[in-house]
Symmetry: D2
Subunit: 375 residues, 4 copies
């Protein structure tokens, strides 16, 4: 596996390091005929790029994407799509020290143990810049899913101890396009102004204390018809769990009621069925839209817990490569919280996972094959 | 993918339905030379089999395993290991009704939507019996990991609202073999007698109310050296998340401090490094033994949230295949809680995931290849 | 990979040894809704089973298949299909000697080098009995392909120096159902009586000399529409080459004109296009139905070279495990030629490969996805 | 699968079209610690690049490679290696006509059937330029194999009807480094001067007649220890067959005696064992170094049949997109024979396949795992 490839049908392979020549992704398996431009992808990358607010790293990167292959006449050709974002503002001198010691909460030590040495500049492959490949590929997946009527609403549910008040169900009952606009306009990608204001104050206090914060990202997916996901190992929730957990800094994942379901009774947790507008519908959505690993037609709802940024300027105890105990303070350009920029990464990973399983589902019934195969 | 195969190196494919001829698994990629008997596997299956206490289904199944291939002279040969558990006590008559309607909280509706029809007897492929293949294969993985000095401590952390008091760290500081014995002797696989007693009382009240309960399973893995797990998509925590979330009824997964980390400060959540007994060691283990997706050498600690059993005898609203709203009460042989029997399933999935990534790591350094390749 | 799994969509995993408890296969990814019985599979296995003529081993095996999962109400359910053939006539005593030395032309030495030891009884996993799993799975694939209008004509083109006279094109112009019946009725699976008679005489002379023979198997596939196969690595011809070459004893593979094309001129080898019956058609079929790795709509034609059976009763020089040079004569129950029994194995592998790529092709165009996805 | 990814351990994904921005490859799974520079890769690409002789296309491409990731301090880091060759001399105007019709022997028609449309400029993804990604990745694999003592001797065995005289065995008995130099110095990559001269004369006559030629490429691999290759589907010869057959224009593949073995007797074809220099050795090598799909320690020898270049200037019958019969003559910059430039492509594919299986073999014995796993 080696770990930089994801998916079986819409398969992506990402590459690149923080201070190398660039970051990229090759997408193999995108169906032919999807209208696609660099602008489609740039829109997603812009939600991830640094410098959108004072709560993100001051590294200057336009993160402009180049589409190198797989598109002809404005449409995908069915052959691999190669996307490249060149690195422009590498300041490797900031990272000279890192070579010699292991930053707490980072992958420095584990990379050295795994590979014998590491590209220490800006964290190398374990940098947050690695997610550029995910977001670029996710933009293509999301565009394709949009053609099928599938939409995402992804936002920061909480930053540190500050949480929004509305439940996903309440958001779903509101004006979704309007909510989506509010989220994109919010500096923290939060869908409610007051918690967003409080969260900013909390972050300012963190920065003053040379400390950092985490939070929870929530994602709602609408328009997913019933039947997506494979029984047993490639359940829709299992593949989402993997995809989301593969984002650095994620420490928890839950679907629907999640951990709360563990304390509920069966009679409380089951979503009973009924008929609404002539179609099967669930009275509640404790399950988060997935039953037996397969989408039920209800909105899919999941959450990811993001740990606080490990790079902090306050002093920390650690060891160096010689095995001596030392004290360090991390300087350089770091985000006091990565939650806002990680929102689009979560959405991208969800889109990639869902599209892969929708394509997988094409093989589920002989009648589908008979329908498509023209003898 | 199709979903019944897991792993890239130690690769398993499971098959079988609740009321078919049996359940089985083929393991491809088990290294040659591992001593292996049916008894090694039976020991694991016995922790999962029904009828161990009054809190599990009364279906009578010995779940005796047959080893059909891949072992010669008491050792694995390197070729596929096929394991078979025949079904003995299928009472399909209990399930005649199910054919016509969709049970809330079950995969009945989603299977029908996906495949056009389903094997409704006892839930078919979506039955808990499906996990027999996982546990049988996990027993082989766990035996192999044991040869490398890796051990598991898996238990019910909570049943419904009743939780044990000790933290994983406290359990690790105790007498591990003794704790392991206590867990195996406990009817609910809980490591503390008093909460176990309270949980039993809680379950009895659930059964009286024709209701069911869920809970949280915790797993501690010791002896994992630093360097296991792939950066980017095949992170150790990402693959664990998928493996655990692929178990039916899991609704949440977290590593180390998990969701609590989202509300912590960076200074609180980072585990600082020091030297203990001449070797690198962490002062705390908020990370749960994984940094950047790669094992750090500290014990790996994770939790899974299990929803309450969806089969309950109290009346529920649902629809039938004709799209009519009906009310049902589910009878038959069901577990009021599946947490105790799921403990070994979680352990099996963790063992399979970890072994797969340990094998993957063999290719991480050229020096390893030079060491093994005899020209 | 580990090597006992094949396919990405219609994925099979085989297991079992010559003198173990049995041989089997698990098929993951068979679409739901295919009518399937044990008789469908037995028909294929019967073409492979021993004892059909004096030119095959006298081991007595009915090779009766059991269908253990994945079928309900006479149709595939979309979940894994497990097939089992128990071994009945293992005479391991015949193979006691083999443990101590390496038979020329067999995998004895290479298995020992790879795994450190081997299951030597009847060749263990490297026995021809391993192909039972392939044929059983291939029967399911062939049945499904039949539903799509795809048919196979597979036969022995030559045995030793004796070859049939007709070209594939001539066979295609004849009465195909009649030819198929003739092939199935022929003791050597040859479509022409005279060469078949000569080949039998040749084989009798081989047997008298305690020697063995090889031959060439040819396969024609009709009804494959244009567009199947993936550019670059998963070309239809590349995947066929792998599938066929994975059958023990295959030493060569060619498509269309094959090796002869290497000596032809471009003007001779190109198949020009025209219109026949209002549809695009090729004037010739030097390409064997594949252009750029993708089916062209013309019949697919390929050949496999099968080496002579390595087990011969005449004396041979070899070494034992102690590294001493010795002379051996191989007794026991062996086929003087495996070509006739390998015909159905070739057909099975072709069916598996083709179906896998037909399923892969479902994801090639966005319009296909839009057609199947019901929002 | 989608088809642009190959390998399970040393996994490559190629991308790019003839007249797009460039061609590239991402390698995932290269072990850390291999010294690697752009020059290592350029050396391989230079053997493939156009304009080396009058027998190749006059398109001007330096095919200069850029190493974008995965190397730090001159060594591979274990993370993905991204390689890029920008296209410089695209003359798309040459290809305007092709949009409207289907060239015989090309993938024009099959791409249109598969995807609904195609990037017709220079053949798009089905161009010979696609092999740049293979050769670049193969250079890395070959360098790594060189560290293990494995070497390749690859050359044109025949061009059209002109063949070299020496057998592989005779070449192996000669001075290998010297032979390698001769091959690299030969305009047709042939190891014998006289046949090379005759082949050039033959090619000149082809060019005069506006025709083209094919040929046979032979590859010898030395230094492969016994035990490489997986039984059943991932046999070393099966994976080589696929890898080589995935190169456009290959129509046949054989190992050792190949098709000739089909007519031989068992007593002739078996390679008997003996002891030479105190080690097991084979008296002959009819098997081409592979027994039961696993390397035997003898040199690996295989051949690939390459069809004549389909682009010829003499008139050909074909159809256009409107389904009308037309006559065309293909102009532009084409190779009258691709065999010489394909020699390094064959070598690259063999290196990729072999390395992948060598890495796979690391998991074959428990003792290997015990040796590498440091608890």
């Amino acid at each position: 596996m080696a770990g930089s490839t994801l998916g079986s049908h819409f398969k992506i392979t990402t590459w690149g390091e923080s201070h190398g020549k660039g970051i990229g992704v090759a997408i193999d398996g995108c169906p032919a005929g999807l209208p696609l431009t660099e602008a489609d992808i740039q829109e997603y990358l812009d939600r991830r790029k640094p410098g959108q607010s004072k709560f993100s790293t001051q590294r200057k990167e336009a993160d402009a994407v180049e589409l190198l292959s797989g598109v002809f006449g404005g449409k995908t050709t069915g052959t691999p799509i190669s996307l490249l974002v060149s690195n422009k503002d590498q300041r490797s001198r900031d990272y000279g020290d890192i070579a010699s010691y292991y930053r707490p909460g980072h992958a420095d030590y584990t990379f050295d143990q795994k590979y014998g040495f590491r590209d220490y500049r800006g964290g190398g492959r374990s940098s947050g810049r690695e997610t550029i490949g995910r977001v670029a590929a996710g933009a293509v997946a999301a565009k394709l899913l949009g053609q099928l009527g599938i939409a995402f609403l992804t936002y920061a549910r909480s930053i540190g101890p500050v949480s929004i008040g509305k439940t996903p169900e309440e958001l779903l009952r509101g004006n979704l396009p309007e909510t989506r606009r509010e989220i994109l306009a919010s500096p923290l990608y939060m869908p409610e102004p007051l918690p967003c204001q409080k969260a900013q104050e909390f972050l300012e206090s963190c920065m003053e204390k040379k400390d950092s914060a985490g939070g929870i990202i929530e994602c709602i997916i609408t328009g997913v018809s019933a039947g997506i996901g494979e029984p047993v190992f490639d359940k829709l929730d299992a593949n989402l769990a993997k995809a989301i957990f593969s984002i650095g800094a994620v420490k928890g994942f839950e679907i629907g009621d999640g951990f709360a379901a563990a304390a509920a009774l069966g009679s409380e947790n089951n979503d009973s069925f009924g008929i609404r507008d002539g179609k099967p519908a669930f009275s509640t959505n404790h399950a988060g839209g997935i039953l037996g690993g397969i989408s039920s037609g209800a909105p899919i709802i999941f959450r990811a817990a993001i740990k606080p940024t490990p790079s902090i300027a306050s002093p920390q105890a650690t060891i160096n490569k010689q095995g001596e105990e030392i004290e360090i303070s991390i300087h350089g350009r770091h985000d006091p919280v990565i939650v806002p920029r990680a929102v689009v990464v979560v959405e991208a990973m969800a889109a990639l996972t869902l599209l892969d399983l929708i394509m997988e589902n094409m093989g589920s019934q002989l009648s589908y094959l008979e329908q498509l195969y023209k003898n």
